[in-house]
């Protein structure tokens, strides 16, 4: 399983945490598609707490955290 943690506005309609089968995603960007999140709506992507890129691979047991851009003032 891969644990996906959503933050801020990405929680709307998705909750805080979801789990998906490891076979459902080979790269972090597959998780975006799985949860219908446009790439530009993820500004910070952490895999197991480390700053990562959408093309980085994910595997069974990983924790993937997704943060949207926060930019108002």
């Amino acid at each position: 399983m891969i644990e996906v943690r959503f933050f801020a506005t990405l929680r709307e309609g998705r909750g805080k945490i979801a789990e998906i089968g490891a076979e459902e995603a080979s790269a972090a960007s597959d998780i975006f598609r799985r949860f219908d999140i446009p790439a530009e709506e993820v500004s910070i992507l952490l895999i197991n707490g480390f700053h990562s890129k959408p093309e980085d691979s994910v595997k069974d047991g990983d924790v993937v955290s997704l943060f949207p851009p926060v930019g108002g003032g």
Binding site: A8, A39, E41, S43, P69, G71, G73
Partner: protein, 221 residues
Amino acid sequence: MEERYIRNLGALSEAECALLREKTVLVAGCGGLGGYLIEMLLRLGVGEIRAADGDRFEASNLNRQLLSAPALLGKSKAEAAAERAALVNPDVRFVAVPAFVTEENVKELIQGCDAVLDALDNIASRRMLARACSDAQIPMIHGAICGWTAQAAVLLPGDGLLETIYPEGAALSSKASLSFTPPFCAALQTALCVRLLTGRGIEAGKLYVADLLDMEMASLF
């Protein structure tokens, strides 16, 4: 020590209060974040505050912008900030600049500053300000809000943290903001600013993200 700063003592030393009186900061933007940042910096007794914003108040600002009021619709935000400064702490040198921070004026605005506070409302302007601060070797205290979420970070010259926070292509999807999110974010930024200006030290490269809906605060990177 002046009586107006007595309650700073215990949390800050007399020497730290005196140090703040010698510092100069720029608040880039006098809207949601900027209004509260200016208020907090004035009451702390920072020596010189420059405040820049080319915008004027409109009705949609009233739900969250401290300096806004129905009677001030159409008024320059920077001029409203100057009037507030004169009212709250006339001992602070206050320079109101009724213009947006741009490539053309940014160098002059930040020159001589000990810190620059980001109260801007878009990613492109933040990138421009961060580049200028980095070039001038001035720390920039980033803050941004969206809905129930606030984030803050100290950007040190050359650390590239803003590019990590906003990668190429990142786009803002919501302009929502509630009355309590800007003051919360401004408080994070001001606390970071005081730590920086008094030499208490900051943890470089950290982004602090607060979710006021779920009452969570995380420190990233």
